[in-house]
């Protein structure tokens, strides 16, 4: 589990076994098998509609809100199937947090955005809420920027700041895994870089799964990469080897820009 092992950490936080996912009759994910390594950044790449976002949302069961959605197979989080009957999805989502594509702070103050999760979890009964908020904002390197404006509306922040605030909001509930769904696609290059640096910092404490459209981002910022194509996982491996020595022809075609 120790972060000092760097890229060689082979412990699995999540293990996906023969996972299928359907929207009504449409099979969106087909027989997925892959590990998500503890305290590593796993990137999911592939063309639009290949199922990578659907897979991401399967990891915290956000797809449950779609009435026609159905899952088969298992996803083990610390060895326990999150699709087993009787699993409490609220607890699951507290352990597996999520950051979305569009920066989407609540139209409330910066403070209330970060404090919402801890409040609903009742963490404020154990610890001072101010400390929790400060710690979360510290961990996304935002505290010094906003510490004098905590009562300011989050809607007044720049998109980059908003996205980091959303990350802080997720971090504040102390999840074990953070899912990021194209978190930089609405951000400018500077803000993108900041978020990538942040991911690297957060990987010391959290297991991160990121969906990205940008192969450069996957290559720069991740330890492992999975390549999705039409609902299937074509190839999975360490990022460096996947990008330099892809085993499948389709992977090579996609990362070199010949298919996509």
């Amino acid at each position: 589990m120790s972060a000092t092992e760097g890229n060689t950490n082979q412990e699995n936080k999540i293990l996906v076994n023969d996972f299928d996912f359907y929207y009504g009759d449409f099979k969106a994910l087909i027989g997925l098998n892959l590990p998500i390594r503890t305290n590593q950044i796993t990137a999911l790449i592939g063309p639009s509609g290949c199922g990578k976002s659907t897979f991401l949302r399967s990891l915290n069961r956000m797809n449950d809100t779609i009435s026609v959605a159905r899952a088969d197979g298992e996803i083990l989080l610390d060895g326990k199937n999150i699709y087993a009957p009787g699993v409490n999805v609220v607890d699951l989502r507290r352990r597996v947090g999520m950051v979305f594509q569009k920066p989407n702070p609540f139209p409330q103050s910066i403070y209330d955005n970060v404090a919402f999760g801890p409040r609903v979890m009742g963490l404020n009964r154990e610890r001072n809420l101010d400390e929790i908020v400060e710690e979360a904002l510290q961990s996304v390197v935002m505290w010094d920027e906003v510490k004098d404006d905590l009562k300011k509306s989050a809607m007044e922040l720049t998109p980059g700041q908003q996205q980091r605030l959303c990350i802080a909001r997720t971090v504040a509930v102390k999840p074990e895994v953070i899912l990021m769904d194209e978190p930089c696609s609405k951000l400018d290059p500077m803000a993108t870089l900041q978020v990538e640096e942040l991911m690297r910092r957060l990987a010391d404490e959290y297991t991160i799964v990121i969906v990205t459209h940008s192969m450069q981002q996957a290559a720069r910022a991740s330890d492992f990469t999975g390549f999705f194509w039409l609902g299937e996982l074509i190839e999975f491996g360490e990022t460096f080897s996947l990008f330099t020595q892809p085993k499948k022809e389709l992977t090579e075609a996609y990362i070199t820009g010949r298919r996509g």
């Binding site: 979305f100 609540f106 979890m121």
Partner: protein, 281 residues
């Protein structure tokens, strides 16, 4: 005829039609104001009618209408908002839900006199409330339900879905999500719906006819089990049942009733405008 000419004619015709719709409203209101204005005074709206209602004021009737409006709010709000939350957030799309929606639509189409008879049979006689403010409020409350449910549901559905998604993803329960990130944003719409429902209830005669309204009752009600006078019924009585009734009193009473309803509607508009301005998405 050129297209431009036809366009001009269409514009004029449509403007005329719009004007025709507005004219009767302006006319009715102006007529009531002109005829009734002279009688309006603090004395008139607070004192009891005297001399077989041919003199004095409308105090007990106005108070009765205010009490009934409050009672209606107390009955209708929790039920209607609860139903709206259920329909918008919880109801699965199935046969039962469709029947509930159908029932609400039909509830809205029932003539108000039928509500009055239902109130008489159900509350006054069967549940033994007697003719009372309680029975009247329950009856008016039921009548108000459909419009409040529909507007409240619409308000809830207009809250961006991503607020719910984000809140759930942070480990909030469904109810925490609704309470913290749906209802606060839906409140202006819900309040508007409630007040519009109430403004209708305040002006209705038929539902209170058999359930609460007193023909003449100069004392004020002491509890919700008492009868009370109410403005719409009082207006009906002094317009049709009292020979030699001075017309100024009739019009002044109508004017006060109009003002009560107008006040409620204006209040709804102001609340909505202020809260919309504060909204940030």
């Amino acid at each position: 005829m050129t297209a431009e000419r036809r366009n001009n004619i269409a514009t004029i015709l449509i403007t005329l039609v719009a004007a025709v719709v507005v004219i009767p409203i302006v006319f009715v209101i102006a007529f009531v104001i002109i005829q009734g204005m002279g009688m309006i005074s603090w004395e008139f709206i607070t004192s009891a009618p005297t001399n077989g209602m041919r003199e004095g004021g409308i105090g007990p009737a106005l108070l009765g209408t205010i009490l009934l409006t409050l009672g209606t709010a107390i009955v209708a709000m929790p039920l209607a908002i609860g139903a709206a939350i259920y329909l918008a957030e919880y109801a699965p799309n199935n046969w039962v839900t469709r029947q509930v929606r159908l029932a609400i639509v039909n509830l809205a189409g029932i003539p108000s006199i039928v509500y009055g008879l239902f109130g008489l049979g159900m509350f006054v006689l069967f549940l033994g409330t007697g003719t009372s403010i309680l029975a009247g409020s329950l009856t008016l409350g039921l009548m108000t339900l459909p419009v409040v449910i529909s507007t409240a549901e619409e308000a809830i559905l207009s809250v961006p879905p991503e607020f719910r998604t984000v809140s759930l993803s942070l480990g909030a329960t469904k109810w925490q999500t609704i309470r913290n990130h749906v209802l606060p944003h839906a409140t202006p719409g819900i309040i508007t719906g409630v007040i519009l429902g109430l403004s209708r209830a305040a002006g209705e005669t038929a539902p209170i006819l058999f359930t609460v309204a007193a023909f003449y009752l100069p004392e004020l009600p002491k509890s919700i089990m008492d009868q009370t006078m109410a403005l719409p019924y009082h207006l009906y009585v002094i317009s049709t049942q009292v020979p030699g009734m001075p017309t100024e009193i009739q019009y002044a009473t109508a004017l006060v009733l109009l003002l009560v309803v107008l006040l409620l509607t204006t209040f709804a508009t102001i609340v909505r405008t202020i809260m919309r301005r504060r909204r940030e998405w």
